[in-house]
């Protein structure tokens, strides 16, 4: 990275610097309780969710205000999704899934503000979410169905000879789930932000060389386009994470089918 940066004569590529975690106050080492920029943006997401869902709905109006309407739309969206995918008894876990969805959605959207920080672009955060869901769902399945939960890997309608092979494949794919679940979210967010930053690094080329007359407008247009795509991705990744959680929950509640 550094070699390309310096050979361009002043252009600096640091697409990953935006993911740096640093303490909010002072410049000391980061221990486990130090408030960092990650803390700040998670707290801001919490604040925004509180604003929409607690303050916005405080009137309990029968005819909703705009804020309450937003909250109600998200509520019924996720509630319908949980009931459709995980079944009627999945509705018990609706608050948990709603928490995941709102956290990811608001962190993603706040992370799109220029100069902000996106906690969901970090593997540490998404791995906790992904493995948390995985462990919860596995324990729930074992608790509800005991050893019958293992029937998830034993395909009853496959030929007997193929069943052990399928079981191994199913087992591997089951344990890959949390990995792909968490890396998908972090990777998507990280990739989008890094691409925006790469195009942004090309934008000031007009200050250095005449070729910037072409490159600068193109890169600014590209930033705009990628930004629009990232707005879409921010929503879709929250949706995908949530719906996959619902699918895993369904597997735990009804391993038979």
């Amino acid at each position: 990275m550094a070699e390309t940066a310096h050979s361009e004569g002043g252009l600096v590529f640091h697409p990953l610097d935006q993911f740096q975690i640093h303490p909010l106050f002072g410049d000391g080492p980061i221990s486990w309780y130090t408030p960092t920029n990650a803390t700040l943006w998670m707290a801001l997401a919490l604040l925004a969710i509180t604003l929409v869902f607690v303050v916005g709905s405080s009137a309990r109006a029968l005819i909703p205000t705009r804020m309450q309407s937003v909250g109600e739309i998200m509520y019924s969206f996720i509630h319908n999704m949980v009931e459709d995918v995980a079944g009627h008894d999945g509705a018990r876990y609706f608050p948990m899934i709603m928490t995941l969805f709102l956290f990811i959605l608001f962190v993603n959207f706040l992370g799109l503000l220029p100069g902000s920080f996106t906690p969901t672009s970090h593997i540490a955060v998404t791995a906790v979410l992904g493995f948390g869901v995985f462990i919860f769902v596995t324990l729930l399945g074992l608790y509800k169905h005991g050893l019958g939960f293992l029937g998830l890997f034993w395909m009853k309608d496959a030929p007997l000879i193929l069943r052990p092979i399928i079981a191994v494949i199913e087992l591997i794919s089951y344990f890959v789930r949390p990995v792909s679940h968490s890396i998908r979210l972090a990777g998507n967010i990280m990739a989008g932000h890094a691409v925006i930053k790469v195009f942004a690094a090309f934008a000031p080329i007009i200050l250095i060389s005449w070729i910037g007359v072409i490159v600068t407008p193109v890169s600014i247009l590209a930033i705009t386009a990628i930004y629009a795509l990232e707005v879409l991705v921010a929503g879709i990744q929250a949706y995908v994470f949530t719906i996959l959680t619902c699918v895993y929950l369904k597997d735990a509640l009804h391993p038979g089918h």
């Binding site: 990275m1 995918v85 792909s180 890396i183 990739a191 949706y239 995908v240 996959l244 699918v247």
Partner: protein, 79 residues
């Protein structure tokens, strides 16, 4: 230093090869979305109930592209 230069070159080449995976994932995502659209146009009334399946399929196809991207990033910045 010769060895180090070769290693640096190797990891950039590796990162570029890994980036091919992103294109392959794009083909996969396109296949999922295209087939969904073809099916939805044949039977639009059934399409609405299958959007969740569509997004799950898209997510799985896209995850592999993200893995490729991650491998490229790891080669570039972590190895």
């Amino acid at each position: 230093m010769e060895l180090a230069a070769a290693a640096a070159m190797g990891k950039f080449i590796g990162a570029g090869l890994a980036a091919i995976g992103s294109g392959a994932a794009a083909i996969g995502v396109g296949a999922v979305a295209g087939n969904f659209l073809a099916g939805a146009l044949r039977n639009p009334s059934a399409a609405g109930s299958q959007t969740a399946t569509l997004f799950i399929g898209l997510a799985f196809a896209e995850a592999l592209g993200i893995f490729a991207f991650l491998v490229a990033l790891l080669l570039m910045f972590a190895v």
